[in-house]
């Protein structure tokens, strides 16, 4: 039985003019970390809010623990949510913030203080209990918000871009903390983000959303190596997958798989001339920008040469590059969906 499931979920705004969710079917498994990934406006936050009960779907159902909860208010759903801003109650101390959900559920005073203590110790904020939210740093606020979510012992955590308010340095450590926290408590978590690094790093599975639809659901390796369509192929990965139009199909290959021909071993490979425009040197890697010709229509592509590849390549020259055949992906030029190879590539 899945912890959270949505069936045929649709949500229209502005009396049907905007389809925020356009028929979504998705289910989580017990204890899983599911990441909803997509660009802004793709419907991921609306999906999360619909699961939380803050939005009512236009059609479809939300199931939590196998029970249909579509018509129920948030408080009847046994969920905990952490908002992007953490939404700590500014007039309450950390302790009052943490016990608030317990107070609302009618737990007696001694028990809820004990529970708050336990959550605060788990998140190492025991020394902050008497502070007000405005006296806390961003990281501390996040932990208070998590503690407040934790004390309810929810069936699912819903996290809405909880790292986006932190500065870049703190974000990496907070990401690490979030993951280890979830592994310790083992609660099913749905996590919304537009940051693919967060998604790849945190998710057991990633659901890629675009224009209110789920484009692909799979583990980080699967969505990266076998993208279901050109949107997923270009949204995930930085720089994105190169797509070259060849006879009604799009041939895709990741920048790190496009290497100077002398560095690609094995007989089964596709070679192509690359006219190099410029080269960027980024954290030890060389990003080579240029135009490939011969295999299909001339297309601008990017090759990422790791530090271990020392073959000289210089701007303004045409160099022979190659991609191993098993690294090529094929997409239908019309629908963008992943297909089998239907074209023959020269070289």
């Amino acid at each position: 039985m899945s912890v959270v499931e949505v069936r045929g979920l649709r949500k229209d705004f502005d009396s049907g003019r905007v389809h925020a969710l356009d028929g979504i079917d998705l289910a989580t498994t017990e204890g899983e970390y599911l990441v909803l990934l997509g660009p802004s406006g793709c419907g991921k936050t609306t999906l999360l809010r619909t699961v939380a009960g803050l939005e009512r779907p236009t059609a479809g159902d939300v199931l939590i623990g196998g029970r249909v909860v579509t018509g129920l208010p948030p408080r009847a759903r046994k969920i905990a949510m952490v908002f992007q801003s953490y939404a700590l109650y500014p007039h309450k101390t950390v302790q009052q913030n943490i016990v608030f959900p317990l107070k609302a559920s009618g737990m007696d005073r001694a028990e809820r203080l004990q529970k708050a203590r336990w959550a605060a110790d788990l998140l190492t904020i025991g020394h902050l209990l008497s502070r007000k939210p405005r006296q806390l740093s961003g990281g501390e606020r996040q932990r208070v918000a998590l503690a407040r979510a934790l004390v309810r012992e929810p069936t699912v955590f819903l996290l809405d871009e909880p790292l986006s308010n932190l500065d870049a340095k703190l974000r990496a450590s907070a990401r690490d903390e979030l993951k280890s926290f979830q592994q310790r408590v083992g609660t099913t978590t749905i996590y919304v983000t537009h940051d693919q690094a967060e998604a790849m790093g945190l998710g057991d599975r990633i659901a890629v959303l675009y224009e209110g639809r789920v484009r692909q659901v799979g583990g980080p390796v699967e969505v990266y190596d076998h993208p279901a369509d050109t949107f997923v192929a270009t949204f995930i990965g930085s720089p994105p997958m190169n797509l070259v139009p060849v006879d009604g199909q799009l041939v895709g290959f990741r920048p790190e798989h496009l290497q100077p021909a002398e560095d690609v071993r094995g007989a089964d490979r596709t070679t192509m001339p690359l006219h190099v425009d410029r080269i960027e040197y980024l954290s030890g890697d060389r990003h080579v920008y240029g135009t490939v010709t011969d295999i299909g229509e001339p297309t601008r592509v990017i090759a990422r040469l790791p530090a271990t590849v020392t073959t000289p390549v210089s701007a303004g020259e045409t160099h022979k590059f190659a991609v191993a055949a098993d690294r090529l992906r094929f997409f239908d030029a019309e629908t963008g969906r992943s297909t089998a190879a239907d074209v023959r590539l020269g070289g």
Binding site: A52, P74, F83, Y89
Partner: protein
């Protein structure tokens, strides 16, 4: 070379223009001047005059100024109507303020909700505030008339009342009527102030409370009210000041009657000083509004400062 010369030639003109618009100190004074003149002429001078008059024997018939020390104050302290007016002023203000806050809060909660025809309701609600006090008081005078009152007519027809009610003719009913009109006219203002406070609460905080399992009343008393408390205080103080200083409602509805039972400081000062012609005593009575208003003003400023901290 030629260009350099031209630049230097153009410099003084640019400099002069800059100097005019750059002198923020002078500009500040120029822009402030109209309001300073206004406040000095229409608030400062009358205030000083009132203090001076209160220590004099100036009357409408004899405007010559002779100092008489505290005689006016002794006389008003000996006058039971003064004490009754002071008591009425405080009672009216306290009761109106409490009702204004409660009704304003309820109204603000209704107005913040999303429903069809919201703008029409908001417009209607604001109407009492935008109507001049004198006009609306005259309308109320008719509504509370002893013979033609539509309120009585309705109550009689639903069987709640056998005969006419003398709304403005019996002391307690008259007091209740004055309070009712104050509340009616100030609730919209309080509601709009509190509405602004409600709107300023981040939506995520409300939603968080919902997800945390709090019902309507818990959200109201543990989240909404604590977070809007400074704004509620401002609304309460506005209500208090407007009730405290107002004489129009009393003047038009009851003229302080029956037998001074609805007399307030402002109306009593007016009757004594202007209608009675004893300017000196009128000034002395009116000055009793000052310490209380000062306290209210300080309280408002404190509340506003606390709001900024939050």
């Amino acid at each position: 070379m030629a260009e350099a010369v031209r630049t230097r030639a153009a410099l003084p003109a640019v400099g002069a223009r800059r100097r005019l618009s750059d002198r923020e100190g002078a500009l500040g004074w120029i822009f402030l001047l109209p309001s300073v003149v206004y406040i000095v002429a229409l608030v400062g001078v009358p205030f000083v005059l009132a203090i001076a008059f209160s220590f004099s024997d100036v009357t409408a018939g004899d405007p010559s100024f002779d100092g008489v020390g505290f005689r006016n104050y002794r006389r008003i302290f000996d006058d039971p109507v003064f004490w009754h007016s002071l008591q009425n002023t405080l009672v009216f203000t306290a009761i109106s303020m409490a009702l204004i806050v409660v009704f304003g809060k309820v109204l603000a909660n209704i107005l913040v909700a999303d429903f069809r025809g919201k703008w029409l309701v908001r417009f209607l609600v604001l109407l009492p505030w935008t109507t001049p006090v004198a006009l609306s008081s005259i309308a109320w005078l008719w509504l509370l008339d002893s013979i033609f009152s539509p309120i009585d007519w309705v109550l009689r027809h639903v069987g709640l009342l056998q005969t006419n009610t003398y709304w403005l003719g019996r002391p307690y009913l008259a007091m209740a009527s004055v309070i009712a009109v104050h509340v009616w006219r100030l609730v919209p203002l309080a509601a709009v102030i509190m509405l602004a406070g409600l709107v300023a609460i981040p939506r995520e905080i409300q939603e968080q409370a919902e997800v945390d399992g709090a019902g309507f009343w818990r959200r109201m008393f543990e989240i909404t009210i604590p977070l809007t408390l400074p704004v509620i205080a401002v609304a309460a103080l506005f209500g208090a000041i407007f009730t405290f200083t107002d004489m129009t409602v009393v003047y038009i509805l009851t003229r302080g009657g029956p037998t001074n039972s609805t007399q307030v400081l402002a109306s009593w000062a007016f009757f004594r000083g202007i209608e009675g012609g004893d300017v000196a005593q009128g000034a002395a009575i009116a000055l009793f509004l000052f310490p209380l208003l000062l306290a209210a003003a300080i309280a408002i400023l404190r509340a506003v400062r606390r709001m900024e901290v939050l």
